[in-house]
Amino acid sequence: MGKGYEVLIVDDEPIVGKQLRLALSKDGYSVETYTVPSDALKRIDEKEFDIVVTDIRMDDVNGIEVLERALGRSGKTKVIMITGFAMMELVRYAMGKGAFDFLEKPFTPDDLRAAVGKAVGRH
């Protein structure tokens, strides 16, 4: 189902990226994971991704910056925000900035698969 779709995942917790990569790879997505957000930004500048999944609270670069950079690179990219600190205003802010979906941690791999599947469906 995910064959041919390029996904970039940014989360400063290595275990999160590893698990999400595993879940999405099973569905055929081509996945790149980054634990250093600035490296992810560089990669976004180099390459257009279909889907970007980003944590919001990270050390040097926050998820909103990743969102802006990804959408600045390509309006076709769908950005899914993930965070353990979800609040209504933050969700509205991210959605207002153009995020495609918002998930609260902890979530199951199936939750992410569903969100990514929805994003692919609208691609």
Partner: protein, 248 residues
């Protein structure tokens, strides 16, 4: 897209109807919620209506009964909102559905001279954004039905109010936590219930000697409720019950 809650007001029904037609949305009002809540929880409709619409009186229903009935209404209202792309016209939507990012909460304010002045001093467009309870306050003294529909529609189309996985889960959590609360209010009318993805966290106060028995009783009761996956009960000591017990 957003779900829209509109408070009861003189031209509220006309505005709700206008939005329903504008977006081809579903529509429901408090009468439907009262009826559905009554069926689901086996409580007379008139009692739920009274708990929500009538002010507390000295000799009226107890605070615990009122809270229980309001929880029944809240749970049913949340389930209705899960349909998505709907307009709700009725009381307390802004209070009962809090923290849901795709719920656009609208207050139609019947402006008098005082309120008009306050509103005018804040916004040229007779609209206030009040983040705490409402997203949008519209002065019906200065705004026609058509204009109100236009203002609400413009806001509803904003991506800020787009449905997300998180916001849908929030509505599900409200539906479940209020259902559990309704079941537990007879145990402790100050019961605190939080739900997250089928996990239910309950906090009650009780005398220390009742702690174990109460925890087991609550767990068993709540586990039988549909959609509950796991129950975590915290009992803190009720000081009043503790001292009352020593004088028995």
């Amino acid at each position: 897209m957003a779900v829209i809650t509109i408070s009861k007001a003189s031209m509220g029904k006309a505005v709700a109807d206008g939005i329903r037609r504008e977006f081809c949305y579903g529509y429901f009002d408090s009468d439907e919620v009262f009826l559905a809540a009554s069926k689901e929880f086996g409580v007379p409709e008139a009692k739920i209506r009274s708990a929500l619409q009538n002010a507390p009186t000295l000799w009226g229903m107890s605070s615990a009964t009122r809270q229980k009935l309001i929880s029944c209404y809240q749970s049913t209202l949340a389930k209705f909102l899960l349909r998505d792309n709907v307009v709700y016209y009725g009381p307390a939507g802004h209070l009962l559905i809090q923290g849901v990012s795709h719920a656009l909460k609208v207050l139609l304010w019947p402006g008098d001279n005082t309120t008009c002045n306050i509103i005018s001093s804040i916004s040229k467009h007779d609209v206030i954004n009040e983040e705490s309870l409402y997203d949008l306050v519209i002065d019906t003294g200065k705004t026609s039905v058509e204009e109100a529909v236009e203002i609400i529609s413009a806001h509803a189309l904003s991506t800020r109010y787009r449905t997300t996985t998180f916001s849908i889960n929030c509505v599900k959590n409200i539906a479940l936590s209020s259902k559990v609360k309704a079941a537990l209010i007879d145990v402790d009318h100050d019961v605190n219930v939080r739900a997250s993805g089928g996990n239910v966290y309950i906090h009650v106060r009780a005398a220390d000697r009742k702690r174990q028995k109460l925890t087991a009783a609550i767990s068993n009761m709540v586990k039988s409720i549909r959609d509950v996956v796991n129950v975590e009960v915290t009992v803190t000591e009720d000081i009043f019950q503790k001292y009352a017990g020593t004088y028995r």
